[in-house]
Every structure is written in structure tokens, then in C-alpha cells.
């Protein structure tokens, strides 16, 4: 599915200088797997999600990223989306005046067009939206509102999951989807994600806390520090992190390496 090899990436700072954030990251996620990346603030987790989805201002200086053998780095964001890359935003963006229905229709049809499929008409779209929102337990009322405007934290994240369901991506990145959510809201969102798990879809779940991983059970957990993955293990790694805290965990790792 996705292969990230020796990835180096820079972010443009306010003074126009390039600052390296991702420093030689390697990661392979196979079809149907759920991987979690954990790590303290500022190690480059969100940067990684932007680099993978192709945001302007995040420049790759070395390494490669391939999705099913296709070089992602050559493509612009909408082409990556058409290939099946989906990013559930940490802070979903408000678009005033644009109805959810209109937005979803634009997105679904833009992807269908890029993939050489027929565009859906209004009725077909309505059916699709109704079906998916029912599956995820999202009210029709939300569909009549404008994109993310006046949505609660929980609604915004549920909206991200709904879009994920509608666009049927291959590779989903969840960027701190649990941030700002209470336990009940986390359960609802995790439920949605679990419903979308399938043998031909992979997930990369970025989070600070083990809590989310109680509900979205990962196959593999990675620890990220200073722009790299420093440790990889099973779900038990998340528990270990939760117990020790990042500082102590990373210190112990360093000592182990030195020894």
C-alpha cells in the first residue's frame, strides 16, 4: 500500500527560511493495516500528514513516497485525493455560505471525474449522502448547514469521518482526530472509523494519547521523535508510552541505544 522511504521535508518559516522537520522517516503500511504514530508536540506528526497529502509550503528535499507503486510526491493534492489519499483534519476548516450537500457533491464528483467515472446527479448524490450519514448516525440537519460553520468539536470530526465514508479512500490519515473531543464523542468517531476498516484500506492514526487507540485498535504503533520514527512495536507500545510519558520513554530509549 504505502511506502515511505528516507523522507526529508522542510517547512517554510515566517522569515522565509526552510526548516527541516522530517529527517529521514521510513514507514511501510500494508493493505488493511492500521498504524498509529505517537509522539510529543513538535516532532513533525502533523507535518507528516501535510507532506503526504501535498500541502503547499511543505517541501520534500529527499526520499520517496509511493502509494501502490505510484510516486505521490509528483502529484498535486487533488490528484493524490483521486488516488485515494484522505486526510481527516485536526482542525476542519469552515467554508461560510457553502452548504454541506453542495460541498460533498463537488468533492465526490471531482474525484469521480478524475477517476474517469460518471458524475452523480442530484438524486444519486442525495441517496449516497443519506445512506452514508445513516450508517454513521449523522443527522440530516447537519447536511443542510454550511461546511463546519457553527459545528461543535464533535460534529466537525464526525463530518470528517462522513467525508471519508463518502470518498472511499484507500489510505486515510487521521491527524489528532481525538483532540478536543470528550470520551463520548471519541467513541462515536472511532465507531465510524471502525466501520470503514476493510482489507483494502489502510489507516495512519496520529495521536498524543493512548486513549483513542482503545477504540481504534492499531496493528502497529510507532513512536516519533525529532522527525523520525524511533521505535516500532505492537499495541502494547502505546500502553508503555502512556505509563512512562514521552520524556522518560525517549530518555530510556537513548540510554538503551548508547549501551
Amino acid at each position: 500500500m504505502i511506502n515511505i522511504n528516507n523522507l526529508h521535508a522542510c517547512v517554510e518559516t515566517a522569515d522565509g527560511e526552510a526548516k527541516e522537520i522530517i529527517k529521514g522517516l521510513n514507514l511501510e503500511i500494508k493493505s488493511g493495516e492500521v498504524h498509529a504514530i505517537m509522539g510529543p508536540n513538535g516532532v513533525g506528526k502533523s507535518t507528516l500528514s501535510y507532506v503526504l497529502s501535498g500541502r503547499d509550503g511543505y517541501n520534500v528535499t529527499d526520499g520517496s513516497v509511493e502509494l501502490d507503486g505510484v510516486d505521490l510526491l509528483k502529484l498535486n493534492p487533488e490528484e493524490r485525493a483521486a488516488l485515494g489519499v484522505f486526510l481527516a483534519f485536526q482542525y476542519p476548516v469552515e467554508i461560510p455560505g457553502v452548504n454541506m450537500n453542495v460541498f460533498l457533491k463537488a468533492a465526490v464528483n471531482a474525484l469521480r471525474k478524475q477517476r474517469g467515472e460518471n458524475e452523480l446527479d442530484a438524486l444519486g448524490m442525495l441517496k449516497l449522502i443519506k445512506g452514508k450519514s445513516k450508517e454513521l448516525g449523522i443527522s440530516d440537519d447537519m447536511m443542510r448547514r454550511t461546511v463546519n460553520v457553527g459545528f461543535s468539536g464533535g460534529e466537525k470530526k464526525r463530518n470528517e469521518i462522513l467525508q471519508m465514508a463518502m470518498l472511499e479512500p484507500k489510505f486515510c490519515i487521521l491527524d489528532e482526530t481525538d483532540s478536543g473531543l470528550d470520551i463520548d464523542a471519541i467513541k462515536v468517531v472511532a465507531d465510524g472509523v471502525n466501520k470503514l476498516r476493510s482489507p483494502d484500506r489502510s489507516f495512519l492514526v496520529i495521536t498524543h494519547y493512548q486513549r483513542l487507540l482503545d477504540y481504534i485498535k492499531p496493528d502497529i504503533v510507532h513512536v516519533m521523535a525529532d522527525g523520525k520514527i524511533v521505535k516500532t512495536g505492537g499495541p502494547e507500545l502505546a500502553l508503555e508510552l502512556e505509563e512512562k510519558g514521552y520524556a522518560e520513554f525517549l530518555k530510556a530509549e537513548e540510554q538503551e541505544k548508547a549501551a
Binding site: D56, E78, F86, A106, Q163
Partner: protein, 491 residues
């Protein structure tokens, strides 16, 4: 495709996708270049006008010579050389007015066809059963080419014709109403129009009649160095209703062209007039700003009677310079005025547009919703006046002015004047300025929507409040136009 043609096609593509920019090769009869008394006599004679009309024109002309140019708008341009333009141009084939649409030069019909305006009634009706018909007056340079559905409308007593015909056939109405809302001395551009206006549309809806179809005028400037000075007069008698639309396009010429129009609307007791405009004159070269139309228009409505209502909706996407303030004089008690505007500027366009709401009668209400969108190197100003006269007890106004900026080289300005001389008035004003953010664009793009499409989506959302006031037939077109106007606005 020959190399030159290829280049032209590419240049057209780069120039912001103005697809109405074609020129129709047609033999045309023009007045001699320049402006003087003889030219005015020439125009009046061409139109076989009665003496009183010529007198009015000459009076306006001599007043115009003394009038200063209005200088308060935030627009910059080289002074107009009034002697370097033609004031009358008409297709030769129209010299003797054709009796039926089949006698009209096919080239002219094709021109409108290409613009999506079929003029043959049966064509208009075929295949559009679910759509109500729209009656069209098609104005080509200085002359009305055809007016459709006249007979159908006559059954209701509605007069819909070119203004030239109305001067011949209904002089009493023209004499009474023309110049009653916009006097010739109003401003320099209106004064010029009063002297040299060539054609335009005339509408009269009799008492108690609800006009069964949309009426519309489609203005086309074709010739180079030619000004278009059309004049529209709409009279809605007691208890009547009419919805009227106008559309405008012009070919791409390198020279600037003047369009100075007047629109007058009169609504009597309990009458309602809804006036919608989609203005897409050639905006000038996208990269240099060369050429384009100077759109200097005076539009004003008079709510003469009690409970009358005039509503202006405009989508302004074209023109190099737009100078335009569709206004309402709320004279009748309980009368209402509305102004809904979307003004989009891109490239080197400049727009200074807004409205005047003059409250004279008691319990008069006005509502202003203005959405300005600036991109490229353009400048976009909302300028509005809300004036409450001493007798306007309980007058109410609500104004919203929102500006949206795309990129870093454009400008948005809001200049509202509010003057209340009656302390029972309630006036509200809200204004915002925002920018399309990188976050919004990336969010859309991550969902598969291209950057251009994302901008169109966001801008249409921004302008939705106004666009929804357009008649159905226009709303979809307007949304597409919004998208086209913003092509190339982000690198």
C-alpha cells in the same frame, strides 16, 4: 489550426476566458466620428423622431458641454476623448426595419445564438417546456434588432418594445416618464446619454397586470470605437408586477469603449418591479488592462405610489471600469427598495458600485446586500448612500457590505454614507472583509476539488445571499460566470 489562430486561441485563454469576446463581421452604418450638434440631429433623423425629442436631446447636449466629470468615485483612467468615438453604429441590413424575425440578417441572429440567446420564438420554446419563456429585446450597437413575444404580451396590454418604437407609438408615455426619474442634468454621463441615446427597451405594464413572463434586454456592443448609449424605461402601473433582466457583452477590442446608459423605473401604488442585471462587458486585457468597457451607468427607480416596491439585483463581472449605483427613491408611504449586488473584479478591473436609498415616505423600508470580490490587481469599492428625509417617519434600512479578497495585490473599499433627518428611523449597517485562506483552499483540494473550482465554490458561497435573488433562468448562468471571471486569479 494555423499558427496565428493557435496564438489567438491561447491568448484568449490567458485573458481570463472571456468567451463572449468574438466580433461579428457585419457591414455597419455609422455616424461620422465625434460629437457635435449635427451628430445629434443625425441620430434623431435616423430614428425619424418627432421634434420634441430632438429638442430634448439638444438641450441635454448644450448642458453637457458645461458639466464637469464626476470625480468622487475611486477609479483611475485617462480622460475620455469624446471626439474620438462614434455615437451611432447600426448594421446596414437594419436600415429598413425588418417586418418579421425571418427578415433579420442571419448573422445577427447567429451572434445572439452564439451568446445563448435564441431570438426565434419557436426555438426559445422548443425543448424548454419546463421553463417559462423569456421575452427578449436584442440591442446590437445602437439599434434594437428584434423584440420577441410582443404579440403574446399585447394580449395582456403590456407594451414591450424598443425605446425608438415607443417614441413613435406611445409618445404620451415617453414624454411623461422619460427623464422624470433621471433628469438630463443629473450627472455628466447621464446628460451625455440624454443627448445621444440610441436605443434600449421600453416596458409598460398596465394596472393590475402581473406580467406572465420574464422580460429581458440583451445588449451587445460589436463595433470598435463605438459608444453604446442605451436607455431603458420601465413603468409599472397600479398593482402590477414585472420582472426584468438585462445581460451585456462585447467583443475584445484594444481600445477602450464608453457605455453610458440610463435606466429609469417607475412603480405606482402597489406595483412591484424586480430588475436583474448580469453585466459581462469585456473587462480589458487580463495582464495589461488594455481595452475594455467604461461602464458608466445611471440606474434609478422611483417608488411613486404607496406600497410599491423596486428591487435591484446585479451581478457585475465585466467592464474595465464600473461606475454604477442603482438607486431607489422611496416616495410612496410603505414603499420598499432593495439592492442586492455581487461585484467581481479581476485583472486590472476597477469597480465603484453601490446604491442610494432615499427615504421620503412614511414607513419606507430599504435593504442593501453588497458582496464585493476582488482578485488580481483590481480595485473594488462599495459606495452607498442611505438618506432619511424629515417626513420619513419610521423609515428602516438594513445594510450588509461584505468584501472578499483573493491574493495580495487587490483592494476592497467600503464607503457608506448615512444621513438621517428623522429620529424615528432605524438604520443598521454591517460590514466585513475577509480573504480566501490557504486553509480553505487546501481543505477543498484534499477532497479532490481543483484550486480553480475551490475558489468558485467559496466565492459562490460568499455571494449566495445575492445570487438567490436572481430569477431561476439566470441563477445557474451567474454561478458559472462567477467561476469564469475568477479564472487565473490564483497562480
Amino acid at each position: 489550426m494555423a499558427a496565428t489562430e493557435k496564438t489567438i486561441a491561447q491568448v484568449e485563454k490567458l485573458s481570463g476566458g472571456y468567451d463572449a469576446g468574438f466580433y461579428t463581421e457585419i457591414e455597419s452604418e455609422k455616424a461620422p466620428k465625434g460629437l457635435n450638434e449635427d451628430i445629434i440631429r443625425f441620430i434623431s433623423a435616423k430614428k425619424k423622431e418627432p421634434e420634441w425629442m430632438l429638442e430634448r436631446r439638444l438641450k441635454a447636449y448644450y448642458h453637457w458641454l458645461k458639466m464637469p466629470e464626476p470625480d468622487w468615485a475611486k477609479v483611475k483612467f485617462t480622460p475620455i476623448d469624446y471626439q474620438d468615438a462614434y455615437y451611432y453604429a447600426a448594421p446596414k441590413s437594419m436600415e429598413n426595419a425588418p417586418d418579421t424575425i425571418d427578415d433579420v440578417d442571419p448573422k445577427l441572429l447567429d451572434t445572439y445564438e452564439k451568446l445563448g440567446i435564441p431570438l426565434r420564438e419557436q426555438e426559445m420554446l422548443s425543448g424548454v417546456k419546463n421553463r417559462s419563456a423569456v421575452a427578449v429585446d436584442a440591442v446590437f450597437d445602437s439599434i434594437s434588432v428584434a423584440t420577441t413575444f410582443k404579440k403574446e404580451l399585447k394580449k395582456y396590454g403590456i407594451i414591450f418594445s424598443s425605446l425608438s418604437e415607443a417614441i413613435q407609438n406611445h409618445p404620451e408615455l415617453v414624454k411623461k416618464y422619460m427623464g422624470s426619474v433621471v433628469p438630463y442634468s443629473d450627472n455628466k454621463h447621464a446628460c451625455l446619454n440624454s443627448a445621444v441615446f440610441t436605443d434600449g427597451s421600453f416596458v409598460y405594464v398596465p394596472e393590475g397586470v402581473r406580467c406572465p413572463m420574464e422580460l429581458s434586454t440583451y445588449f451587445r456592443i460589436n463595433e470598435m470605437n463605438t459608444g453604446q448609449f442605451e436607455r431603458t424605461l420601465i413603468i409599472a402601473d397600479k398593482g402590477s408586477y414585472v420582472s426584468y433582466l438585462e445581460g451585456c457583452t462585447a467583443p475584445m477590442h484594444d481600445e477602450r469603449q464608453l457605455h453610458a446608459a440610463i435606466v429609469e423605473v417607475i412603480a405606482h401604488e402597489d406595483a412591484e418591479v424586480k430588475y436583474s442585471t448580469v453585466q459581462n462587458w469585456y473587462p480589458g486585457d487580463f495582464n495589461t488592462g488594455a481595452g475594455g468597457i467604461y461602464n458608466f451607468v445611471t440606474k434609478r427607480g422611483l417608488c411613486e405610489g404607496r406600497n410599491s416596491k423596486i428591487s435591484w439585483t446585479q451581478v457585475e463581472t465585466g467592464s474595465a471600469i464600473t461606475w454604477k449605483y442603482p438607486s431607489c427613491i422611496l416616495k410612496g408611504d410603505n414603499s420598499q427598495g432593495e439592492f442586492y449586488s455581487v461585484a467581481i473584479t479581476n485583472g486590472y478591473q476597477q469597480a465603484d458600485t453601490g446604491t442610494k436609498m432615499i427615504h421620503i415616505g412614511k414607513n419606507t423600508k430599504s435593504r442593501i446586500i453588497s458582496k464585493g470580490i476582488s482578485a488580481g490587481h483590481s480595485d473594488n469599492t462599495y459606495r452607498g448612500v442611505v438618506k432619511v428625509m424629515p417626513g420619513a417617519e419610521n423609515a428602516r434600512n438594513f445594510t450588509v457590505c461584505d468584501s472578499l479578497l483573493i491574493g495580495n495585490d487587490c483592494g476592497a473599499h467600503t464607503v457608506p454614507y448615512v444621513e438621517s433627518r428623522n429620529n424615528t428611523a432605524t438604520l443598521g449597517h454591517e460590514a466585513t472583509t475577509s480573504k480566501i485562506s490557504e486553509d480553505q483552499l487546501f481543505y477543498c483540494m484534499q477532497r479532490g476539488i481543483s484550486k480553480e473550482e475551490a475558489i468558485a465554490l467559496i466565492v459562490n458561497g460568499f455571494a449566495k445571499e445575492v445570487l438567490q435573488h436572481l430569477p431561476m433562468e439566470f441563477a445557474v448562468e451567474a454561478q458559472k460566470l462567477v467561476a469564469i471571471s475568477l479564472e487565473g486569479s490564483i497562480g
